[in-house]
Structure formats: C-alpha cells, structure tokens
Symmetry: C2
Subunit: 415 residues, 2 copies
Amino acid sequence: MNIEIINIGDELLIGQVVNTNASFIAQELNKVGLNVVRITTIADDVNEIELSVSSALENSDSVIITGGLGPTKDDITKYTLAKLFESEMVEDEVVLDNIKKIFDHRGYVLTPTNRLQAQVPKKCKVIENLVGTASGMCFQKDNKLVFSMPGVPFEMKQMLTKHVIPILLSYYKPSAIFHKTIITQGVGESFLSDKIEEFELALPKFIKLAYLPGPNLLRLRLSARGEDQKEAKQELENQINKLMPLIEDYFIGFDEGDLSLVLAKLLLEKGESLSTAESCTGGNIAHSITINAGSSNYFKGSVVAYSNEAKIDVLGVSQEAIKNNGAVSEEVAKQMAIGAIKKMKTNYAISTTGIAGPTGETEGKPIGTVWIAIANNKGECVASKHNFFSSRENFINRTTNECFSMLIRWIKSNN
Amino acid sequence: MNIEIINIGDELLIGQVVNTNASFIAQELNKVGLNVVRITTIADDVNEIELSVSSALENSDSVIITGGLGPTKDDITKYTLAKLFESEMVEDEVVLDNIKKIFDHRGYVLTPTNRLQAQVPKKCKVIENLVGTASGMCFQKDNKLVFSMPGVPFEMKQMLTKHVIPILLSYYKPSAIFHKTIITQGVGESFLSDKIEEFELALPKFIKLAYLPGPNLLRLRLSARGEDQKEAKQELENQINKLMPLIEDYFIGFDEGDLSLVLAKLLLEKGESLSTAESCTGGNIAHSITINAGSSNYFKGSVVAYSNEAKIDVLGVSQEAIKNNGAVSEEVAKQMAIGAIKKMKTNYAISTTGIAGPTGETEGKPIGTVWIAIANNKGECVASKHNFFSSRENFINRTTNECFSMLIRWIKSNN
C-alpha cells in the first residue's frame, strides 16, 4: 500500500511556510502501517497539478493532496481535479449549510466568493470540514483513491484522522507495523554505528534500524513489519533487548514524542513538580513543557530572567554573584535554580544562563557557552558547563534537550 | 532558471522529522530570484534517488539534493550519485583533514566508518563543510548543476549560503524579484479577497498577489519580477500605495518575518522595554521574542505563572481576584500584566490567562477562552476576551499573535 502526498501551494515553494502538513500526514499514515513513498510540493498551477496527480496515480495506490481549496483566485485545485476526473461542478447543500453556520458563528456576512466554496465536483465524495469552509474530496479511479484536503493544518488534521484514514483502512488491509524508538545522548552517530555494527548486520530482514539525529540527541528507531502482528511485535522486543546492553551508557528513554514527555512521565509517576529559571533559553524550556496537554499537573511555572535585574529582583540572585562571576557562571546558574525552587515551590528546578549569539561574547566565554543547573527542594544543586556553538535556534534547542536529559538522569540516579 | 529540490530521508517519509530544509533552501533561492518549481521527498533508496534526480534534470535547470550523506549504512546518496554520473570514488585529502580536525575538537577517536566520509566521487567538485564531517558535492552535466548537501540543517544552511548559491548565481543571471508582504489581522481571507478584487484584477502581469493565512493573521504578499530592477521595484511600491487605503482597518505592519519583529522594531525605535506574564501561552510569547537576536535590548523577562500559587506569589495577583472571578478572568489578566510591569520594571507588559485544552473547561468558560491584558508603566491597562478554540498548539500560536498585534496597535494609537 504505497501512498504519495502532493502539497500544493506557492507559499511552500518560496519557503514562506514550512510543510508541516506532509510530516503530519506521513506520521499518521505510518502509525497504521500505510507507506508514504514520495512527497511532492508543487505550485498552484493547472499543468503542475495535472502532471503530478497523474504521475502519482501511475506509481502509487493512493494520492493525498493538500492545498489550493481556499476561496481566492489562486486556489485552483478543485477545478483542476474536476477537469482531470471529467466532472461538472455542482453546489452541495450540506457544504453550503456548513459554510453558513461557520459565518454565523464568526459574525461575518456570506459573500458570493464564499458561496463558491459550496461548489464541488459531482463525481467526488464530499468530506466534511466542520472547522472550516473548504470541504474535502475523495475521487475513485481504477480502484485507486485520490483525496484532496485544505492546506490549513488545523482543518486538514481533523479531516485526515476522522475521514481519510478510516476510508483508506476500509479499502486496504495494510500489514502491521511496529516502531520502537530509543533516545540516546552523549554519543555521535558514527561512533554508535560502529559500536552496534554486529547487532545491525544480524537484524532479520523485516526489521529496519534508522538513526535520527536531533539537537543534542540521537534517536534509534527499530521498525518491524509483518503479516503476523504478534510475531512482528515479539521479534521487535527481542531485538530491543539485545540492543539495550550495548547502548546503556547513552540511554535516556524510550520515545514518547520528545524528551519533555519522558521527563513528564517520570514526574507524574512520582507526583513531583518542576519549575524553570531561564535566561538564554528565553522561555523555550517552559514552552516545550507546556505545549503538552496535562503539563499543569507537574509544571508550576518559569521565571524567564533575560536581564540581570530580573535575575536579582525576581529570582533572588545576589548582585555579588553576578559582579564577581558574570551572569554566565556556575554560581549564577545555581542561584537561579535555587531561586526557582523557592519562588515556585517545586520539587525540581532547571536553570540556564548562556550566550546564544550571534553577539554577546566576552573574554573566556565564547558564543555558545552555557551553564545549566538543576536543583531539588532538599537543598541539592548541581551544575554543568557546555558549549553549544551553533545557530541561535539550534543553541536554544540543544540547551533545552541537555536540560531535560540532565534532569531525567538526575532523577533516575537519585532513586 | 528553474530549480528542483530533492530531500532524501526515510525519517521525512514517516513524518518523524519536519522538512525545514526545503523551506530554508526555497526561501534563500527565492530571495535572489531563483525559482523553485518542485520539491520532492524520497526514501534512502538507490532506485528512487536515480529516478528522481534523472527526472529533475530533464525538467529543470539545476537540482539541489539534501540528505543521505551520513556515515551509517542507510546513507547511500554519495554512492548513488557516483554511479549515476559514472564516477569512481577517491579519498580526498582536504576532506579527511577536516574530519580529523572535527574529531580532535570533539575529543572523539576517528573510526574506519568516519574515514569513509572522506571518500568522494572523482568527478564532483567538493564543497567544504567546516561544521560537520559530510562534505557537499557539485556535479555538472549538460550545463546543468546537481548539488548534494548533508541533511543536518545547521550544516546544510552554511553550505547553501556560502557555496551553493554563489555558484548558482555565477552560472545563471536570474531576473530580479522583489517581494513585499503586508500583515493584516481581524479579517478573513475571502472577505478581504472580495474587498480588493478590483485592485487584484488590475495588477500588471509581472506582479503576483498571494494570500498567506497564519494563526490569527493574514499576510498579503506582492511579488514583482523583471529584467529592469528599478522599474519592477517602483511598480511594486506603486501597487502597495494603491492597496494600503483598502486594507487600513486591518493593517498591522510590513513583514519583518513575524509579528514579534514588528513589535521589536517599534520598541527599539522608542527605546522602550517589554515583559510578559504568561499562563496559558506557557512561555511561548517569551520564546517567540527571544528567538530573535538582539531581543535582550527590549525584552526583560517573563513570569510563566502556570499555577495559581505562582500567579499570587510571583506576580502579586490577589487571592480574592482568583477566588471571585476564577484564574481565567479580566481581573486576573490585568493584575498579571500590572504585576509584570512592577516585577520586571518595563514600559509594557503582556499577560495571558486562558484554557488551552483539551480539558479544563468550566461553566461559562469553554475551551479556547482566553483573557489578554496589556499594561504600561503609566498605570494604564486594557484587557480583551477571545475564544481561540482549536488544537492546543494553534490556540497558543493564535493567542501569541493576538497579544503582539494588540500591543502593536496600542503603542501606535497612543502616539
């Protein structure tokens, strides 16, 4: 069961928008054992759309298209598909009602342009969009399915999981697929690859190993595919058991999405709480935690102390510590973490103070220097120094992941 | 000058990694007037790579490839390109020296696997990678160029801007392109499209208008392309001047990347400072500000008060306000903003308190409800209530953008 994804949109080709739709669709299909073999991004252009859809239909079993369903002149996907599948356009009552409902709800007046969104190709099965005005479509040709969904991520996501995937699963019976991902840290890809070479070469054919490097971490993903679900799953577990002793020095956890979720699980299990005191990460640690639903059960808050005054006034860092050591120092990092524990009354706190760049270098403290401290409410506090010289964004992400893995290891080793 | 991008990597096809490389490359090429006509994502598979590169060479002037250059067994791009361009592999002294240097710097021992990375196809021009061990390659065939770069974003970005784009520009002389993007807020895409229909129909052929909806905002991008740079630029300005009166009710600013940068510019011009007090946005506002270099010049910090205790203890919100109105209320939002002004000693503060979901609904306060307050150090404070019912991530992003545009408008209207 091979599927191609086609993302339509000039904004993607000029790089103004990152194609998160493709990764979301791929992820969801992958979970249920449907293979994405190719992702193509093209312009809002009749010829390009016709060419890409026809070619995808030749090479794959189904095609999932996003984009170009809006109400404006540059949105031509619907008309192009109607032409390709030789279908006339008709106004759909149900779609029109939905559009009217949405306009009422938002307090807008329905315009003739909006009403055009109720026009759909007669030959398609309409896929409802309860959260937007552009409905989706499903065409069938020679036992192959072609889906078209809006490019707005929120609308597309609902449509995919509620309608498109169930339709696909009812058509095809994909072979089962199981993934298990291990997060490691403190080891390079090539070094680890050498270390587990024998293991990798001995893997059965239906199990695949992939290396997925991230900011300051390395994921290893094992995937098992098979007709016999139980057997595939069992063999995956067997291989994981063989792999574990080889990588134990670098093991952080099994993947629950990212490190913030590994940490969340640990804290929830223990009923313990966390706060952060962030300088150079500027709120990214708090954001990485609070993007997860349920985070208020263990996360109490953060003080983003971007200035020295905030470090002193809000976190209680001593003026002397900053004067004698500079803001980027072990002493200040520790005082920040201890300050967060006191202010936020949590079991644990993480702090960061560093130089994200591109400017801000001082003598002996090059760009990329960062001090991280972790503290608990028993009066214990440890700190470590790193250099994550890189782009500003990468520096922030690497520091964030270092904080998470440092605290995960600390909590585990204290028990 | 049409260019195709090919991103190689199983991790992209299963959606574990978002393809930010494609958008970065597209953006950089677009800036210098080079057209990206297609982006294709494929697996680490010999046949797929051969097929896609050959097809791209037929349809386009140049091809830019990323991925599959790592040291592990699943990295086969280099060998596949060598085969495609009928070239033997040789060890490159300069590449080997660079790899050794990087290993020394990191304190790792060079393994035989790493040494393989110094092998390059004899027919290619090697592109140096000073920040990683995988070098890039440039092949030439029938006056078309094929570039291959590593998939690690940090390494790819340096290689692209330092080497690949200069080589492309020395080969082709692209026609000039100018973009101007306007950020609007408080208006739907179709409504605006109707409003400016006449303007759009009257645009000269070499100027293109695109609608780019974002979380709680809508960008309008005008692009002018032409041989005569001065003329194209002038006509773009003329059209912008025609457009402005039609959209003034919704105008937030010209695009500097995103709203945080529009706000940054305003604050820097006035020499004023900002802090935030975040509940439901969980640090995302602070993160959106501090991801920008130079933000410490106007941003002093944030209190992410995820619990009631943090709101009371750190921001000085009164217990009564929470008891009488609930944490998600006008009164609490205002006290949070005023608390941030006092704690962080800034000219302005933004606060948020709301229900991001998927749970947390209470009577009269459905999921998506959010109160936003903005305050200044003259004792003024205003608040507004919204409902951004959506996914958790989208709720956070929409709230963040609402905060930025609310403060931008407030600062502008107070002068």
